[in-house]
Symmetry: C2
Subunit: 226 residues, 2 copies
């Protein structure tokens, strides 16, 4: 490994609520506080979702702006990554915060099943989000939930819809999408190297798979996410 391992922290996903776990940070102030703790412990990327007053996922640019402001103040130098993925079905509203120019934003380039629904990323929305990221100089983190997503991202880099080098996250262990499996991780890496040899990658294991996937990724020189 010639480059240091990047550790990303996802403080609040789009699924858990206070009812699931009272420790889940939901307000912007809570998010800033717990991100700061992770930052001081060595995390370098903050993967950010925001919630509305009722605790439901939102893409409200004002919320994202307040979170960005808080993180810039309390975690200086931390890479801020906004999620564009938390509200499947919401269309272009999912990218309404990109003009805030976060350092990075997540980008799904294909569709797949989630535990109870379809995670919808129609081709025209994917292209629009990618174009917005180029326009606002936001670096995408490609969220690969299946093998074709890796190849699709490489194609988009080839034809100019995405900038190189790609930064791809292999997401493993989401029910009804790709499982967490060491051999599959090797297949992902092989395929990415074939189609986008200059790409960087990381791997995320969801829920109980987190530690295992982190270990596999680190052993292969990838980055990780908690």
């Amino acid at each position: 490994m010639t480059n240091p391992c990047i550790i990303a922290v996802a403080i609040t996903g789009s699924v858990p609520t206070k009812a699931d776990n009272p420790a889940v940070p939901v307000t912007v102030a809570e998010q800033v506080e717990s991100t700061q703790a992770a930052f001081e412990a060595g995390a370098s990327i903050a993967h950010c979702h925001v919630r509305d007053d009722a605790g439901a996922p939102t893409s409200d640019p004002d919320r994202f702006a307040r979170l960005k402001e808080g993180l810039e103040k309390h975690c200086p130098g931390m890479i801020i990554q906004f999620s564009t993925g938390g509200r499947s079905g919401a269309g272009r509203a999912r990218g309404g915060m990109l003009p805030l120019r976060p350092d990075m934003a997540s980008l799904s380039v294909g569709s797949n099943n989630f535990p109870t629904r379809v995670y919808e990323n129609p081709p025209d929305l994917v292209d629009w989000l990618a174009a917005e990221m180029i326009a606002h100089e936001v670096m995408p983190e490609i969220e690969a939930f299946d093998l074709s997503h890796v190849i699709q991202a490489a194609r988009m880099a080839e034809d100019g819809r995405l900038k190189r080098p790609l930064y791809v996250q292999f997401v493993m262990g989401v029910k009804n999408a790709m499982i967490a499996d060491e051999r599959i991780l090797d297949i992902y890496i092989e395929t990415l190297n074939r189609f986008a040899p200059d790409a960087l990658w990381c791997a995320a294991g969801i829920g109980p798979n987190q530690i295992r996937v982190n270990e596999w990724a680190i052993a292969r020189g990838g980055h990780t996410r908690t």
Copy 2:
């Protein structure tokens, strides 16, 4: 190869219209006629979509019943496979013809992108279609548009939602889904063998990829589709 190669013929997909190609068989009579020609040329499975009077894809059980009747009369012994996939978004209507007890029916077990839209197969609909196929003794042909679909089918066979042995078709070359690629075909086969060692498989290359994919599949002992 210990078993004979199965050649399936898909006479009418859900996309082409008479405007694209006047030779596309659209009425039931036209479909029976051209399937008979393929049957006499050696095809053993008829993969069937039906159209309404305006030429639009439909799942109308009456249409499927008439097609089945015509095929049974003119192509005795041919395996009749109904498509449950041609009308993404239509919900359980997609399986309304399964009580007709065709020999087989196509079954997608995950979602993915198509050229201009999301091919939606939500988890609850997948489970319902699979249960209907078991209830009416219809053998599914699993349509794998991405690698996780192969593993998902194996899981469904493990927990009883599908019967063994699985019959899986790797679909390659659909824009925005998996590309047609020989190495990826090997990865599909390896993964299927790992998770469902008793499964049978075939491969379909869409459009200009058809011949190439057929050649790769035959060389590896798989079945093919035209």
